[in-house]
Symmetry: C2
Subunit: 292 residues, 2 copies
């Protein structure tokens, strides 16, 4: 089977053995934003045409490729939803030479009735958990998600605009003048996480970063780490229930270490999930689909 | 006397009668960012040269003109500080044809020991209070300030980066796509303020705005009002002590109505201060200065 985690800015394609092992992988910048209208069949052939030519007949897609801006819109499934619901809910797309299916995204409501959506993360959650029936999963990113898995199904989730807010604040406010370089683990990040527990709120803490720099108490090289710690610290404080068990971190890249540290500073255990969570999740859904 | 509230992006010049009445006023875009190095004497003459020629011999400046990026740096006075402290702390600047003095800014620390600074707002606070000895003052803006006046002196204050964060989030995140127009009072603003009281934190509420738009529950014309309500609502919730008395709002422009509404929704009374607060404050400090 071929599985593709096809997001907004990048795509990851996997050729999978029947048992879910990744036989081959490809990662590229071919996210849906880079595909012209009507260009999805060609984009798929560019990514995996040789695998199809070699005999693969089943292709499963997940992620923003199923959004209004993607290949075809797949309606959101409401939570709670498990692997079986996702497999039942796949949307077929006509495609020459292979059976093509699209995993639907999930919708939910937060405690106040405001809608929540995900596309692609549901696959990573089930791939990263390795069969656990109850878990709290965190997926760092531009739109970071905290997912509650109960009885083997995704019961609900919340999203925070943390990554995008970091980029906007770092690049387009007075904070830009006091920051050089990138966020990295270290004392400045820890200071930002600790600061997030002070009273006054995030908007006040943001000005405090400026004031610390003004008085020489925050060096430019530490600015990005401090700001990242502030934002991730606020997200973790608002997302981690009191007395929560281990948090399963699913994803890749430098944010994983930062989230792991912030969760540890909040007194919870962070467990790094499988880096191939998307591939595993696609395989687990694929084996439940009634292919032709 | 001539009083000038000289900020980063604009300047307001007042010709004041001995009793503090504004005889003439001028407002321009001549903020310190628009003055070339060494250009401050000429900029002052452009603003008020005719008043000096007409016989004014005393000039009092306040605001960012006293910062490192201004005409001359005036060290911050530590809080608590009253009118007498500000008058004693003025910094003389050599200037041909008139006595020129600079009101120092104020510094403080928040509850966690993080520094706080203001330049110019201290003058507006004392001008806006009309002699009240104890008050809570809110000054909306890019860097909004909440100031505690106790026994006639500024005891402490906190700043939030609300205005700048609004501009950065509105212009440089996915929220930009779902927003048309400007923030205005109305139901969408009220919804944003109410949302700020929900659990989940500001970063989660920002994603919720995106999700509401995705499901057609937040129209583009309402987006700016909702986002403004979210941010101002978070600021007010974090800055307004439980059971606080009336909040004196000092400033001008469309933010005044929005802050007044958010404070009322939080259950406190908002009292609009004098629109000429800077002029009044400069006059009150000027009458306490030992001019030559």
């Amino acid at each position: 089977m071929i599985g593709i985690d096809w997001g907004t800015s990048s795509a990851r394609a996997y050729r999978l053995d029947p048992d879910g092992t990744v036989r081959e992988r490809r990662e590229g910048a071919g996210g849906i934003l880079h595909v012209a209208p009507g260009g999805f069949p060609d984009a798929l052939r560019a990514m995996a045409g040789d695998w199809i030519a070699a005999g693969e007949r089943r292709i499963l897609l997940s992620g923003m490729v199923g959004s209004r801006q993607g290949w075809q819109e797949a309606p959101y499934l409401p939570c709670p939803a498990g692997l079986g619901d996702l497999a039942l809910g796949v949307v077929p797309i006509p495609f020459e030479g292979a059976e093509l299916r699209l995993v639907p995204g999930l919708s939910a409501h937060d405690a106040a009735g405001i809608p929540e959506v995900m596309r692609g993360e549901e696959v990573q959650v089930f791939g990263g958990l390795d069969g656990a029936q109850d878990a709290l999963v965190c997926l760092p990113g531009s739109h970071a998600k905290w997912v509650r898995v109960e009885g083997g199904r995704i019961a609900g989730f919340t999203t925070s605009l943390t990554g995008e807010a970091f980029a906007a604040l770092r690049g387009h406010t007075i904070l830009a003048r006091m920051i050089e370089g990138e966020a990295a683990p270290g004392a400045a990040f820890d200071d930002g996480v600790a600061r997030a527990r002070d009273p006054g709120g995030l908007l006040h803490h943001l000005f405090g970063a400026r004031a610390l720099a003004l008085f020489g108490r925050l060096a430019p090289a530490d600015g990005a780490g401090y700001l990242s710690g502030l934002l991730i610290g606020h997200e973790v404080a608002a997302s981690l229930p009191p007395g929560a068990g281990p948090v399963h971190l699913v994803g890749s890249g430098p944010l994983m270490a930062l989230y792991g540290r912030a969760i540890a500073l909040a007194g919870a255990e962070a467990v790094a999930g499988d880096a191939d969570a998307a591939a595993k999740g696609l395989a687990r859904i694929g084996e439940r689909i009634a292919w032709a």
